[in-house]
Symmetry: C2
Subunit: 447 residues, 2 copies
């Protein structure tokens, strides 16, 4: 933010000036501004400044006035399996291992080819931009098909180079998964909205040898490692039986702990493990709905917060959530942390908003590009109306975003300054096409 002195004599040309009722920039933390505007040139934020100053300093090509609305960074979905939106509600009320073994894996082995991934990711991206999500961190087969879908909708995607020991329609063995994922990464190098992470599925599906290879690759390529970790107590018991140690200790020995590691779920953690992950500057992808729905448990977010372990929020896939909605996850995260610790002051509204934006960006190594409204960052944004009758009155926009509003109140989503959703509708695809895609796969999956 510039000091309010010495306006330039000649106004600067910008592409977009957004003038909402409130702005929550995330950096600095805990701040809600009113009477401010955000200036965007090309794909970047140029300035966040008092409204009157903005009108003097800039000559915008387009001005968007948003009375009654709050502008904040686009939300970062730190863990999903986007293509699984086609399996939304396909199996419910089952524990993780039965849910996977009896319902999800059989359906995937029959159906999960590139067409499935393209279609499912398309639905997922449309749903996500509807709810103000601008970036998602994905783990699924055929990431090239997922990339096509993300590009179509205009979202920023971090695609997992997924690795699992057993064969699927996508790849034959761990080496094959890695080779395919790396080739897709090479082919996508020039797309500014795409990046990649290594995505070994879980401790119980990936061998030591493969984890070692991944640790080496992560160092060479300087990309994150995204892995399901300490999701269930069953996973930990199995690791103790097979490896003699808990999964985090196993990954430590294999060289995987460090600032590149995103531990997804992290439900069952001992205090020493939280300290270890914090010391190693790892990150947690907290997925409260999914952890509850599969009966996995409740992550110790109060301790994770107090030990300074960075965390973001994830929806997980729509087969275990069943909606890709970070407004639900923010509310769940804030409420659950308080209830589980019996401390109503844990994870307050601003801290929760930070987790859903900058926390996720940090985990992905993207915090210099996204996650807050600092000048120079990408104009990944969402606007939420807080003036709708059924959520009145509003005393504090941050509280309202976390505890009251829903994704139905999101009015605009921008990625790199480009409007990808407005009026409840994705900009790049028609509703009828989305319904056709969902209908086609519903028929295939039930016939």
């Amino acid at each position: 933010m510039k000091p309010p002195s010495a306006p330039a004599a000649v106004p600067e040309d910008i592409d977009l000036l957004i003038r909402p009722e409130w702005i929550i920039p995330i950096e600095p933390a805990g701040v809600t501004l009113s009477g401010h505007a955000l200036a965007v040139r090309g794909e970047r934020i140029v300035a966040l400044l008092p409204d009157e100053e903005a009108l003097q300093r800039f000559r915008p090509q387009q001005t968007v006035d948003l009375p009654g609305q709050v502008l904040l960074p686009g939300l970062v979905n730190l863990h999903t399996h986007a293509a699984m939106s086609l399996l939304r509600g396909y199996a419910d009320d089952l524990p993780l291992m039965r849910w996977l073994g009896e319902r999800i894996w059989p359906a995937e082995s029959r159906h999960a080819g590139p067409d499935f991934v393209r279609a499912g990711t398309l639905l997922a991206c449309a749903e996500m931009v509807r709810g103000g999500i601008t970036t998602f961190n994905d783990m699924y087969f055929f990431p090239d098909a997922a990339a096509e879908a993300a590009r179509r909708i205009g979202m920023r995607a971090v695609l997992g180079i997924v690795v699992i020991e057993f064969p699927t329609r996508y790849a034959a063995d761990a080496d094959d998964y890695l080779a395919k994922g790396l080739a897709i990464r090479d082919a996508s190098k020039d797309d500014p909205l795409l990046s990649f992470c290594l995505a070994p599925h879980a401790p119980y599906t990936v061998a030591d040898k493969t984890f070692r290879t991944i640790a080496t690759l992560a160092g060479q390529l300087e990309i994150p490692v995204h892995v399901h970790l300490h999701e269930t107590s069953h996973e930990i018991e199995e690791s103790l039986k097979q490896h003699g140690v808990r999964p985090i200790e196993r990954l430590r020995r294999l060289g995987l702990l460090g600032p590149q590691l995103i531990a997804v779920h992290a439900v069952h953690l001992e205090a020493t493990e939280i300290d270890l992950l914090a010391r190693e500057a790892c990150h947690v992808a907290h997925c409260p709905s999914s952890n509850l729905k599969l009966g996995s448990g409740i992550a110790p977010m109060s301790a994770i917060q107090s030990r300074g372990l960075n965390f973001g929020l994830g929806t997980d896939g729509a087969a275990s959530n069943n909606r890709l909605d970070l407004f639900h996850e923010m509310r769940h995260a804030a409420l659950l942390a308080k209830g589980a610790s019996q401390d109503a002051e844990v994870l307050d509204a601003h801290r929760t908003l930070e987790a859903a934006t900058l926390g996720g960006a940090r985990a992905l190594g993207l915090d210099r590009r996204i996650g807050s409204l600092l000048p120079g960052k990408a104009a990944d944004l969402c606007a939420v109306r807080l003036d709708e009758w059924l959520i009145q009155p509003c005393f504090d926009p941050a509280s309202h975003l976390v505890y009251v509003a829903g994704r139905e109140q999101v009015t605009h989503t921008w990625v790199e300054g480009k409007l990808v959703m407005s009026n409840g509708v994705p900009a790049q695809i028609s509703i009828s096409e989305l319904l056709d895609v969902a209908g086609l796969w519903h028929t295939r999956l039930t016939s």
Copy 2:
């Protein structure tokens, strides 16, 4: 449901025939019907029967076709302080006793007169019918003002004859609270949509003598007793200090346990207490969001369910939730029960829908009139669209209602056969009036 034989030669006149894609009648349990219709005459359900048979048997004045939608009983909000919608988000991220003592009680003592209650309950009722809620069980001052608001919106209300030992703008002492509440009840006897319960606030705000009077009155008047109970561990510790026993045991000794008792929150329960409440045929009003938000804890719903203790769902007031939305509560209840017990099979979708309808009706002693779609019951109904693009695909309507849909998908709400909400808008009041009411009180509360 009638057998599909011998259609009447002359069609019967009815007022309304609803033909949705699916019907979830709640009774019988666990059933989702398709190709069925619901017939309504006056304020009552006449029949639920196969669509073709309905077209032969009835001559409806009005037919409502609902393709892609599911029809179910109107939701029952088993615990709220409706007027507190004016304090939505007025104080957050504080524990119960500080939240009450530092923020809520001071604001109430300045503002909570009849105008406040009328205005706040009006907003609350409008919000509730928007989300498919047809009945609410209220606990607040000036229930006559709340009654006016409920009548205006057309909702069914169970109004608490609130009792608390300390003086407020409403009443001077326990006897005065009781006298005022009973007089309001007498004056409202002829309103078919209004009924009453005794509402001693909580063990920590009501004396033994008053609880004894309430036990006697409950027996004489045959109405429920609605009390905050075992909400926080602090409440239990204080009871042990002051009374030598935990609150449930204290209430047992005072003669309050029985089928008329609605224990609100019931977060901190020992196994013997769950058994005792079940044996005495008491009821629990489970308020998952509020219990989490105030840091009270997580109610043992897995044990409550398995011991056969009846329960319904409540939003609590909008000051501690912060939305009067039973779709959120259903989702929270189902997910939280699984997560806390690490058992994904607890509280499945159908069981959760039952809690939000028939469970609440049973607790209120209204299960012969509402809570399911049996012929003879009141036509308190809601319809929810499951064909919207961002919640596709849909494999199971019950699962979709609990795990995917939100109140934004509710399209119609009927109370006693009268449409009280459609197209997202309450039938009996304009949006501009609601916004004016909220705006006026926002100004008063912040000035």
